[in-house]
């Protein structure tokens, strides 16, 4: 054994640096996020145009979406206050005006129509914490009622006092004979005390956490207040689970009482198809006559939306957004959505055109129809730019589907008064030629059958202008597997960090280099973690971590930032650092830094649930919780 081999064998650890093949970037990157397509032959100008066009459509769509989302909340408030202010004089028997807010996180503020002088409206919020029993609920709510009533009175008297210092208090209600106590007699005598009608609105927050027995008893208690004159009671129940859950905890007689007059409003705005329809419609309008949507893509949207019950609308917007982006990103023909760009059409675009299935069927049709062979050959070889002209001719052709969709919607809404249809589903049925099936749900449609009949048509080159999910991009990126997603993010820090600022004429060469060569300690450690076996010795782990970090670059960086006055360090920090550097030497300092990073990252892993210690006492060995190796 040679000496070298022996020395090698005595080493506690080895450093192996496998060579990583760097990916060759096929074309130079422009300033836009898009890259050249058509095997890199696309001109820079067209890439830029593609980007601008995408941006334009995207912002157009989002302006509309914002408006829709804004309208959602306005509609909601309007709906709530209209329920609360509905006329109750025609009621045959006394009952609560009961409003269930489904999917509410109890933060919904209730806006009242303006107060008038004859009626006092008071909102009483009750949270489960404030309501351990009926007595406390009653006292609290009566206290709130009283303070709500007296607040404006007090302001008024204050104003008066400022005008007339002597101020006669006789205007204040004489309360003594009736007395004010915090129970229902306050409600009963409200008219006598304050000379106003009373409209009480109980806002029960987070009803699911209430003790249902207490809630039930409280409602029964309030029931007797219904018979008082000039008193109206509204109950607003904020429910974040579902109605049947609440229902099963209440007495049947209470349910019967509440049911006399009740309204349910779903705040999660995914009930019904109103907003999703509007969003989809606005997307269609944005890309109107330019883009088609493939049936499979629509099916994908429908599937995913039915899987996500709570954030339906957000999901739809996300999918549409993503589809638009990926279309512009990967399809060189997207630039021709703006027909003026056709002047830039060159021979690079020809090969994909010839491969279009619709074009091929067209040529086949020509062959069958015994068209002159020169004509066909001219078209295929683009002689005298015939193919180009042919393409341009079809560029402006519009797909009749959007127009027909508008017609169907118009018939449904204006002629038949049907509003609870799913527009996306309707579109899907139209694409697959099953419109008839979809409309069967509303038998009234029979009379309009001849108007509504629709057959989907193929337009030549339409696949170049179709949003599709042929490359599995959506399912992969929109719904990544949690673990692979986590893994990818932890390996590539640029996926979670904002892109490094690249200033032109950067001053310090070190910093730029440092950013590109040194990863986050967390990511660095994770790549080691992935390769480790399920039980990890911490010391070995640390050594490996230390070895893999590019020591010389960090050393350079430390030196540089100590010396350079313009670095990000604060003055006192730099002082400390230079003292440490003098006392301990650079090597020691670097070791310390790495140890700090290591301990930090390890504890972060523990908090993320990637690592666990085997016992509470020993920290020598940690165990992996996931990625436990093959």
């Amino acid at each position: 054994m040679s000496l070298n081999e022996f020395a090698e064998a005595q080493k506690t650890h080895y450093t192996v640096c496998p060579k990583v093949k760097r990916r060759r970037i096929s074309c130079e990157k422009g300033i836009d996020p898009f890259v050249k397509l058509l095997a890199g032959k696309e001109s820079m100008q067209m890439v830029n145009k593609r980007w601008v066009l995408y941006h334009q459509l995207h912002s157009q769509f989002h302006a509309q979406v914002e408006e829709i989302v804004h309208r959602v909340s306005i509609d909601m408030y309007r709906e709530i206050s209209s329920v609360l202010s509905k006329d109750t004089s025609k009621r045959t028997s006394p009952s609560f005006n009961c409003l269930f807010l489904l999917g509410s996180d109890s933060t919904t503020t209730i806006e009242l129509h303006e107060q008038n002088s004859k009626t006092m409206q008071a909102i009483i919020d009750l949270t489960p914490k404030e309501s351990p029993n009926v007595r406390m609920m009653l006292r609290r709510s009566m206290f709130k009622l009283l303070s709500a009533t007296e607040a404006p009175l007090r302001v008024k008297t204050d104003e008066k006092e400022s005008f007339a210092p002597e101020g006669d208090m006789g205007e204040l209600p004489r309360t003594s004979p009736l007395g004010i106590s915090y129970d229902l007699s306050l409600v009963q005598n409200f008219r006598k005390l304050f000379g106003k009608r009373l409209k009480l609105i109980f806002n029960f927050k987070d009803v699911d956490s209430f003790n249902s027995q207490v809630l039930d008893d409280f409602i029964i208690l309030l029931k007797s207040a219904l018979n008082y004159k000039d008193v109206e009671i509204c109950l607003v129940l904020n429910i974040n689970t579902n109605l049947s859950n609440i229902q099963k905890n209440l007495r049947q007689s209470t349910i019967r009482l509440l049911k006399k007059d009740f309204t349910v409003i779903d705040l999660s705005h995914n009930k019904g198809h109103k907003y999703a329809n509007q969003t989809f419609q606005s997307f269609l309008n944005t890309v109107d006559g330019k883009l088609n949507l493939s049936a499979e893509f629509i099916k994908f949207i429908l599937d995913k939306m039915s899987n996500n019950a709570t954030h339906n609308l957000q999901l739809l917007i996300k999918i549409l957004d993503y589809s638009l982006m990926s279309y512009f990103f990967q399809n060189p023909f997207s630039v021709f959505i703006d027909p003026t760009n056709v002047v830039n059409f060159d021979e690079n675009y020809l090969p994909p055109l010839l491969k279009c299935p619709t074009f091929m069927t067209f040529v086949e049709g020509m062959v069958h129809a015994h068209a002159p062979s020169e004509e066909i050959m001219a078209l295929l070889d683009n002689k005298n730019s015939t193919l180009e002209e042919f393409f341009t001719e079809f560029l402006v052709r519009e797909n009749p589907i959007n127009d027909h969709l508008k017609l169907v919607v118009d018939v449904l809404e204006n002629q038949l008064g049907v509003f609870n249809y799913n527009l996306i589903d309707l579109y899907y049925h139209m694409l697959t030629g099953k419109l008839h099936e979809f409309l069967q749900r509303w038998p009234e449609c029979q009379q309009f059958e001849d108007i509504l009949k629709f057959e989907p048509v193929d337009i030549i080159f339409q696949e170049l202008f179709t949003l599709d999910n042929s490359k599995e991009l959506f399912s992969q990126s929109l719904f990544p597997f949690l673990r692979t997603n986590l893994e990818n993010n932890l390996i590539n820090s640029d996926r979670m960090l904002p892109p490094a600022k690249r200033l032109p004429g950067i001053k310090d060469p070190f910093e730029a280099e440092f950013n590109s060569s040194v990863d986050l300690p967390l990511c660095q450690l994770f790549s080691l973690y992935r390769e480790a076996s399920s039980i990890i010795n911490l010391y070995d782990f640390f050594l490996a971590f230390k070895e893999t970090l590019p020591r010389s670059e960090i050393a350079n960086f430390v030196n540089y930032s100590v010396e350079n006055k313009e670095s990000d360090l604060r003055h006192e920090d730099r002082e400390k650092l230079s003292i440490l550097l003098k006392e301990k030497g650079l090597d020691n300092l670097l070791d310390k830094m790495m140890l700090v990073w290591f301990v930090q990252s390890i504890s972060e892993f523990q908090h993320m649930g990637l690592l666990k210690t085997q016992s509470n006492k020993s920290y020598e060995v940690v165990e992996k919780c996931i990625w436990r190796g093959l």
Binding site: V134, P177, L221, Q252, R256, V264, N308, L482
Partner: protein, 471 residues
């Protein structure tokens, strides 16, 4: 001293009894009278009518159910008495007392002392009846309260002009039997009989329904102009049918029956057409489902209209398909032993050696469904979820159809989070949950009834997994 006896249906005896105990002359009336009877047996009605017919007998009413605990009850007794007297005899000035001060019994006595003393100027003795309508409905009732009121008259001076008399209306016989040694005069209101219920309801509701606006509108919109007797016939039939349909459910509870009638009247009226208005039988048939359920639910109507298309059926229980399977998987995790997972869910059990492969499961002594849900880690949930989630068989080789087993992607986690916030799946520790901790265990929070309902909505036979588990 003439006491008018009102006529209350089927309560003649009770009215007679009341009239012999309640009188304006304090020397003829006992200080305490108890009226006992169950819900809707006409107690309040009878008493109200009695005092209505005899305005010369002074009375005031209290609703203990509104007052929740005894302290406000005492304050209200004080306030009621003083304000009633002040209204009755406005000429007599009495110094103002704050009723809120009557926070305890001795303070109540003190208060009453002061108030009643100022009415000594009256010419003759009068009795003031204080009626506690539903004394045992007080939320925080204790056994000391009633004796204190019973003995109240002994603590007040006997020579007062105004004598307080208390009438306690009590629902519960058990409550009353505690005080049987006090020998209180007690008038018992028995429950109404079936025929009596029918008669009372007919008398009360027919006129109301005949005049109801909805009936008139409907009949007019049908283009009919029937005689009054037809209306009567319709209302009468309706009431009779409701009583027959729901009597077994409500018992002789007039209020509950009346509520049921009111809630169904509208839909009954809606089904009236020109053809069936004179034929009770066809009218009955046209809305038969009114009589089969009580309809005491908030959700019924919505669910009915949701069950239309295929894609909508997935959200029939307001849960998505993935959520449902997650919940089913969670139920299986909680109620099946992890030992047998590989046998039950694996398709390759023959590869395993040992007993676990051919699974001679020891039968359990009790059905696991009767036990508490056991805890499980999330990993187990996901693997069972993957095993039970249906895989679409080829047919369409597009990526839009899951042809490979469902894996835990973001969608699945989203649905899990939703189930957690709906509290259908909960963590072992309710507070301060660290969701990233590897120690965290979960359990299902759904009973068998709901899970079978859910499973049937996605055509999953969950009962199969629990058959033959126990003796």
């Amino acid at each position: 001293m003439v006491i008018n006896v009102p006529s209350v249906k089927f309560r003649d005896y009770q009215v007679d009894a009341v009239s012999s105990f309640v009188s304006e002359d304090p020397s003829f009336a006992p200080p305490n009278v108890v009226i006992q009877g169950h819900h809707s047996s006409g107690k309040t009605l009878t008493m109200r009518k009695f005092f209505e017919y005899n305005p010369q007998i002074y009375n005031c009413w209290l609703n203990p159910i509104e007052l929740v605990s005894w302290k406000p009850l005492l304050q209200h007794v004080a306030r009621m008495i003083s304000s009633t007297l002040a209204n009755l005899f406005p000429d007599i000035s009495c110094e103002e007392q704050d009723a809120l001060e009557a926070e305890d019994f001795y303070l109540l006595i003190k208060f009453l002392h002061a108030v009643l003393r100022s009415y000594q100027l009256l010419e003759k003795d009068i009795s003031l009846f204080v009626v506690f309508d539903g004394f045992d409905q007080l939320q925080e009732l204790d056994s000391e309260l009633l004796p204190k009121f019973i003995k109240l008259h002994e603590l007040l001076p006997p020579n007062l002009r105004v004598q307080l008399k208390f009438i306690y209306i009590v629902h519960d016989t058990a409550f009353l039997s505690r005080y049987s040694t006090y020998n209180l005069p007690t008038i018992i209101f028995p429950r109404y009989k079936h025929e009596q219920v029918a008669e009372i309801l007919l008398q009360k509701k027919v006129s109301e329904y005949i005049e109801s606006e909805k009936l008139l509108c409907k009949v007019v919109s049908c283009g009919l102009d029937p005689e009054d007797s037809t209306f009567e016939q319709i209302a009468e039939n309706y009431i009779k049918i409701i009583i027959q349909a729901f009597h077994s459910y409500t018992g002789n509870d007039i209020v509950a029956l009346g509520d049921l009638m009111d809630s169904k009247w509208e839909s009954y009226v809606q089904s009236i057409t020109a053809e069936n208005i004179n034929e009770p039988l066809s009218l009955y048939r046209s809305n038969i489902d009114l009589y089969t359920t009580t309809g005491d639910t908030f959700v019924a109507e919505e669910e009915a209209c949701v069950e239309t298309g295929d894609s909508e059926r997935a959200t029939a229980y307001e849960l998505s398909c993935i959520s449902k399977f997650l919940l089913i998987a969670a139920y299986l995790c909680s109620y099946l032993e992890p030992r047998y997972d590989s046998k039950i869910f694996s398709k390759k059990s023959h590869l395993r050696a040992g007993r676990s492969s051919y699974g001679r499961r020891a039968k359990m002594e009790t059905n696991p469904r009767y036990l508490q849900p056991s805890l499980f880690p999330l990993e187990r949930l996901f693997s069972i979820f993957q095993a039970i989630f249906p895989v679409e068989e080829q047919e369409n080789h597009s990526i839009f159809h899951h042809t490979e087993p469902m894996r835990a992607n973001v969608e699945v986690y989203e649905n899990l989070a939703e189930l957690n916030s709906l509290k259908l799946i909960t963590t072992a520790t309710p507070k301060n949950v660290d969701y990233l901790s590897y120690k965290l265990k979960w359990k299902v929070n759904v009973p068998w009834e709901i899970i079978t309902e859910l499973a049937s909505s996605v055509n999953f036979d969950i009962a199969d997994y629990f058959s033959g588990l126990h003796y």
